[in-house]
């Protein structure tokens, strides 16, 4: 049933709310998100690094398809090395079709015990699907079949939703989403089924936004994240804070950025009371803490 966002969640200023508490010794949780996508070559590419001469998008778009493919062939493995070195267990959000097209990549994730989170079936906005409900169910089923576990979390491709998406997600068993970036704390969203938790995801410590849309220099990965972190870390003396950071292999896994990504994670995690949790763990904490 289509619902206005405010019918799902009333406005509330962060100041003056009941206080949530992390376990002793923790003041800020980093939520690392690694996104794996399938770019179907028969369609326009999800993002572009190079536009064709005279600017008109052409099909097929080999150069931009290759850009993404490099991420899966090379970039992902660099990010994997980094995560293992730093002892980080990220949330892997994936288009379910990646289980079929890049099984080695998904297998590497499950071998490490990383959380799989559903990111639609293909990298296509939810608005463009003929049967959203069926695609959501299929995405969850395909990942469950591949990994043996039904995903608990969901990110829409490009975080897109229509006014009824949340109801289908809840119906399919999704417990949390990252699509509603509107708070520093988890919030509970009403649906026609069970409520769904929106975890505090991030728009701007996000490699697509920083690098592909805002065209910032690679070192901004580090300096922006540090600026962001310092503010939240200071505020975390008052209220618990979650800081999400989003990586895509074709952006964060390339040679000129990976160093900035790695030193960012390393420096943040070196602070007292800072740990990295995946989405499922943040969800479990929130559900227990709000009681």
């Amino acid at each position: 049933m289509p619902m206005h966002p405010r019918e799902r969640l009333a406005f509330s200023p962060i100041e003056g709310r009941p206080l949530l508490k992390f376990p002793k010794g923790i003041r800020l949780v980093i939520w690392p998100v690694l996104a794996l996508e399938e770019w179907d070559m028969s369609r326009p590419m999800a993002r572009m690094v190079i536009s064709p001469p005279q600017g008109q998008p052409m099909l097929p778009d080999h150069p931009n398809w290759s850009w993404h493919e490099y991420g899966m062939r090379v970039g992902f493995w660099r990010l994997q090395t980094m995560m293992l070195k730093l002892g980080i267990s990220p949330t892997v959000t994936l288009n379910a079709r990646v289980c079929e097209t890049y099984p080695t990549v998904v297998k590497a994730c499950t071998d490490h015990g990383w959380e799989l989170n559903a990111h639609g079936y293909d990298q296509v906005p939810m608005h463009k699907l003929d049967d959203q409900r069926a695609v959501i169910m299929k995405s969850m089923d395909v990942i469950e079949k591949f990994s043996g576990k039904r995903p608990r979390g969901w990110f829409g491709p490009g975080l897109t939703q229509t006014f009824d998406t949340l109801d289908y997600l809840s119906e399919a068993g999704v417990e949390y989403i990252g699509d509603w970036v509107l708070d520093d704390e988890p919030v509970m969203l009403k649906t026609t089924h069970k409520p769904v938790v929106a975890l505090p995801y991030n728009f701007e410590i996000h490699d697509i936004v920083m690098m592909a849309l805002q065209h910032l220099p690679s070192d901004q990965w580090h300096s922006r994240a540090l600026d962001h972190f310092r503010t939240l870390y200071e505020e975390s003396t008052e209220r618990p804070k979650v800081m999400a950071m989003a990586c895509h292999p074709y952006l964060s896994g390339v040679p000129h950025r990976i160093g900035h990504v790695e030193r960012t994670f390393a420096e943040l995690l070196a602070h007292d009371g800072v740990v990295a949790w995946d989405g499922a763990k943040i969800l479990d904490w929130y559900l227990a803490a709000r009681k």
Binding site: P13, G158, T165, L182, V209, L213, P217, Q220, D227
Partner: protein, 301 residues
């Protein structure tokens, strides 16, 4: 100039003549101050059933899907979390706030309004909704409704106006003057206030800024956050120099969903750390600027 005249309203040069800033009679501020800085906070409510005014994340392969929940959430974050960070800066440096707010946002964000009323901020009209003034159904109704909503919430009728995206029709200043507004800030064409003719009584235009503005700097020009501080300081230093002999006005404009983000707010704070201590710089609201200029400046033509 031989531009065709609009059927209703006026061409810009019929409202005010060209004038070089160096040829004017010197303007003096109280106690030997050189310039006034006014800071504007813009609070908007975005209708989730319409196209979003700005976006931070576009959908895969582009386009403008409807509804656009992610970008609606982006602006909502500003009012749930970001605004309170900006407020801390205003409080710490005792900056008199100017709240430039959509009429609909007054009802949507009562806690934001209350925090500003409690601090005696000046509220100015920013359209009833965040829509281009050329696209609202009835401009006069929109302008009047904006004033009524603000008067109801704050007890005071707004004296100032800043259109959504600074948009105007040929007639906007006429309607604003008729509806009781004393000043407007849509005309970014000078470093001193200027009088503008309307078909009724004149209206004052106060210097505003397109480029010391987080929308332009962060969302359009895509600069790193530190540029907000760097540019504000460059702007400040030059205007301070220019103000030797005749006063100037500088504006700084922010939006909670942009400068209230954790990675940006420190650069907003840094500006005031640097300039708030200066003895010959005044921090005023728009109304204070309007009252001063009306008293000491040239009389309207």
């Amino acid at each position: 100039m031989n531009f065709p005249k609009p059927a209703v309203g006026m061409l810009p040069n019929d409202r005010l003549d060209y004038s070089a800033i160096t040829t004017r009679k010197p303007l003096k501020l109280p106690k030997g101050a050189r310039l006034v800085v006014w800071t504007i906070t813009n609070v908007e409510e975005w209708d989730p059933t319409q196209t979003m005014p700005r976006t931070v994340l576009t959908p895969p392969a582009g386009g403008s899907p409807m509804p656009d929940i992610p970008n609606w959430c982006w602006h909502e974050y500003g009012n749930r979390v970001g605004f309170w960070r900006l407020l801390q800066v205003y409080d710490d440096f005792k900056i008199p706030g100017v709240m430039n707010i959509n009429g609909v946002a007054v009802k949507a964000y009562p806690d934001v309004v209350k925090a500003c009323v409690d601090r005696n901020w000046e509220f100015i009209g920013h359209g009833y909704t965040q829509r281009n003034m050329q696209k609202v159904e009835n401009e006069r109704t929109d302008i009047r409704k904006s004033a009524e909503v603000l008067e109801e919430a704050t007890g005071k009728r707004p004296r100032g106006w800043l259109g959504p995206g600074l948009t105007e029709t040929w007639e906007t200043p006429d309607i604003l003057a008729e509806e009781g507004y004393d000043y407007v800030a849509d005309w970014v064409l000078d470093d001193q206030p200027v009088w503008m003719k309307t078909r009724g009584k004149p209206i004052l235009n106060i210097p505003y800024t397109q480029e010391c503005n987080d929308v332009a700097m962060m969302l359009i020009q895509h600069h790193r956050a530190s540029e907000f501080y760097e540019r504000a300081m460059d702007q400040f230093e030059q205007i301070y120099r220019d103000a030797k002999g005749s006063a100037r006005v500088m504006a700084i404009s922010v939006h909670p969903y942009i400068m209230g983000a954790p990675h940006r707010v420190k650069y907003f704070r840094k500006i005031y750390e640097k300039i708030r201590k200066k003895r010959d710089v005044l921090f005023w609201t728009g109304s204070q600027i309007a009252d001063w200029y009306t008293k000491v400046g040239p009389k309207p033509a």
